[in-house]
């Protein structure tokens, strides 16, 4: 049983990674990050159920709180970036190019 949950979690996580590294739209990248967080949450909950204690729940709640805070902040940043450049394309932000 636990294997199915964990497989799903890994699948979701990989989808998230794929989204982060392949999409250029900032929102898509952001949503992919959220997906990865949720994959982690799924794993926490499944493992909490397996071990029959509340540790996983606590962590899942924490992750959700962080994700909410992050979403608020990230969206604000994205809006500022859009104001600055008029685009939401990650390729525009390549100041670190060597």
């Amino acid at each position: 049983m636990i294997h199915d949950y964990l497989s799903l979690s890994i699948l979701l996580f990989c989808l998230g990674i794929l989204g982060v590294i392949s999409r250029r739209n900032v929102f898509t990248v952001f949503m992919s990050v959220e997906l990865m967080l949720n994959a982690a949450n799924l794993a926490f909950i499944a493992l909490a159920r397996l071990h029959e204690n509340m540790d996983g729940h606590v962590l899942a709640m924490l992750v959700m709180a962080v994700a909410a805070a992050e979403a608020a902040l990230a969206l604000a940043v994205v809006i500022l970036l859009h104001k600055h450049t008029g685009k939401v394309d990650t390729n525009v932000f390549s100041l670190l190019k060597g």
Binding site: V20, V29, S94, L96
Partner: protein, 637 residues
């Protein structure tokens, strides 16, 4: 044995104080209201006169001592003491230095007085006198120093003053270049001097490095060391005393004011090399081979510069080459171990050469700084006193009996013949003839015949008494100084030689009177022939000759200056420029730049990974995490 007297240190100190006082007053006031020149003149002239008085006192004090103990010393303070090296700032007056002391202070006093007239109206009158005083102080340190290191202080000091005074008219680049040349060429000589001193010190210096101790310990030296030390010291002498191959600076040094040429570049400083060889006679006498090198260098210098002297147009250049030539004689003398003869020639030369330069100065002064002899002529009616005194000087220089130059030069030539160095003697006699020729060429062209430049002739007048009185005094010296060392052939008793004997390690060459008569006859004949040819060519007025062929080559001094320029100066400058601007930045710095280049390459390789896109960094992160997790799982197994 040596007697300690406390006034000896005052002798060099007085002119140095004079230089400091005059110099500071000048610096403090030259920009605002100037002090009167008379004040400086009195201040500056009092010190040489005082030192002359002290020099006379030294002479009489020495004379009162027994012959073997004729030495006065004064150890002022320990200069520096490091390990086995103990150098004291001390002074020594023995017969040799007292003789030098007498004529140096005497001519210096006269030339200081003469300069009051010559430099009158110069805008930095005081500076000139400060330098002259500084020079005198250094020269006296050189003469009185009790060891080689103290002598070296004076040795370099006079070099500095020579530089300052040659480039005195500093607005003109060529004057400053002449000064630079003098200083640098002298420094090449000093290089030899310092090395000679160093080798001497490490051989026997640890038990005292003053002349008295050195003389006592000289027997402990290995012959090879003596040879080396003597050769190196002689390199120093060639620089200071303008001998082959370092004589080139002296003719250029005539760029300085004429009293300077008289004092420094004729009478005193340039004879320092001869003095030094005589000072170290206790070493030179052991190495006749080196002595022979010294003698031949001297006599060849005498020959070469006499050739140059025959073809010069500038009155001061003629005298300059004659100085080089006479210095050559002196070295021939000291090289052949006839030290007293060499020193005696230094002594007489000081009188007649200072006289000739000061006379030339009067002529130049009268003609408003005209130095070309072919623009002069017939001046004997306009400048009768100058003419008479210069005639005496010329006769002394040319070696006419019984003028002073005759006796001193003859003694050198005689000792060459007596010691069996016929080659040196023959060249010496030849040079004597040439000397007579070029000296009287100058006299005839300048004072006889008809004026070549009527305007200058009209305005020429005898200089003021402050300039002519020194001329007369020097003329008396040039006339009679020779009698001080009258050889026994003429019924004399060689007083100077006997006076000098305790200081010098001389072995006199005893020879028959017949050889002496041959030597004298040859010299007189050479003198007569030289003067006769000069009279035939220039006696009744002659026009400026056009130099061609050999005479042009000699006029340009065998193009030695150009040769040195091509051989040494230009390559040195080129190498300097190449090192300073190319090699240092690109070759020596190469390893450093290689490291920098390596860092750059390293950096730009890793730069490729820095694409700037967030998602690529995400990939790196994932790769990194994957590898880490894999390794972690591996390690748990």
């Amino acid at each position: 044995m040596a007697q300690n007297v406390s006034y000896l240190g005052m002798i060099p100190l007085l002119p140095l104080i004079g230089a400091a006082v005059v110099g500071i007053l000048h610096l403090a006031t030259c920009k605002k209201k100037r002090l009167p020149d008379q004040l400086y003149a009195v201040l500056a002239c009092s010190t040489p006169i005082l030192t002359f008085v002290l020099a006379v006192k030294v002479f009489f004090d020495l004379n009162g001592l027994p012959v073997d103990g004729r030495a006065l010393t004064h150890e002022v303070f320990t200069w520096f003491e490091v390990g086995e090296m103990n150098i004291s700032m001390g002074f020594l007056a023995d017969p040799l230095s007292s003789l030098m002391l007498l004529f140096v202070t005497f001519t210096a006093s006269l030339i200081h007085i003469y300069s009051i007239g010559y430099m009158a109206g110069d805008e930095s009158f005081a500076k000139f006198f400060a330098y002259l005083n500084l020079f005198l102080g250094s020269m006296l340190i050189l003469v009185l120093g009790n060891g080689p290191v103290v002598m070296f202080v004076g040795w370099e000091g006079v070099g500095l003053c020579s530089y300052l005074l040659i480039s005195y008219y500093s607005e003109d680049r060529s004057n400053v270049l002449a000064g630079n040349k003098a200083f640098i060429v002298n420094r090449i000589g000093d290089f030899g001097f310092v090395l000679g001193m160093a080798f001497l010190f490490w051989a026997i210096g640890d038990s005292g490095f003053d002349y008295i101790s050195l003389k006592t310990n000289a027997h402990m030296l290995a012959p090879a060391t003596v040879t080396l030390v003597c050769l190196l010291l002689f390199v120093g002498a060639t620089g200071k005393s303008a001998q082959i191959p370092l004589y080139v600076w002296l003719p250029d040094a005539m760029a300085g004011p004429t009293p300077v040429s008289a004092l420094i570049h004729a009478a005193t400083m340039v004879t320092a090399g001869v003095y030094m060889v005589a000072r170290f006679s206790f070493l030179y006498v052991h190495v006749p081979t080196v002595g022979l090198i010294v003698a031949w260098t001297g006599i060849l210098t005498a020959l070469v510069s006499a050739i140059y002297g025959m073809f010069q147009n500038d009155i001061k250049k003629v005298l300059a080459y004659s100085t080089v030539s006479q210095l050559g004689y002196m070295f021939a003398g000291v090289g052949l171990a006839a030290y007293s003869a060499g020193i005696f020639h230094v002594f007489t030369h000081a009188f007649f050469k200072a006289l000739l330069f000061l006379g030339a100065g009067s002529v130049i002064y009268a003609l408003h700084h005209e130095q070309n002899i072919w623009k002069m002529g017939g001046l004997k009616t306009k400048l009768p006193l100058t003419y008479k005194t210069m005639l005496i000087g010329s006769l002394a220089l040319a070696g006419c009996p019984p003028f002073s130059g005759f006796f001193s030069k003859d003694e050198i030539l005689y000792s060459a013949l007596a010691s069996g160095h016929t080659g040196i003697w023959v060249v010496g006699v030849l040079v004597a003839g040439m000397t007579a020729y070029y000296t009287f060429r100058m006299i005839f062209v300048v004072f006889h015949g008809s004026p070549r430049d009527a305007h200058a002739y009209e305005h020429a007048h005898e200089p003021p008494a402050v300039m002519t009185v020194p001329l007369v005094i020097l003329a008396i010296g040039a006339l009679f100084a020779g009698f001080l060392n009258l050889p026994s052939l003429f019924g004399g008793s060689q007083q100077v030689t006997h006076w000098l004997a305790p200081s010098l390690a001389e072995h006199a060459h005893e020879a028959s009177h017949s050889i002496e008569i041959i030597a004298i006859a040859a010299s007189v004949a050479a003198f007569a022939i030289g003067i006769f040819i000069a009279y035939r060519k220039f006696g009744k007025g002659a026009e400026e000759p056009v130099y061609s062929g050999f005479s042009s080559f000699a006029y340009h001094t065998f193009r030695i200056n150009e040769l040195y320029d091509v051989l040494f100066v230009r390559p040195y400058k080129a190498i300097g420029s190449a090192i300073g601007n190319l090699i240092d930045a690109h070759v020596t710095d190469g390893p450093v730049q290689l490291i920098v280049w390596f860092y750059r390459q390293f950096g730009s390789t890793f730069k490729l990974l820095q694409v700037g896109y967030v998602r690529v960094y995400a990939i790196y992160m994932i790769i990194g995490l994957s590898v880490m997790s894999y390794l972690l799982t591996q390690s748990f197994k």
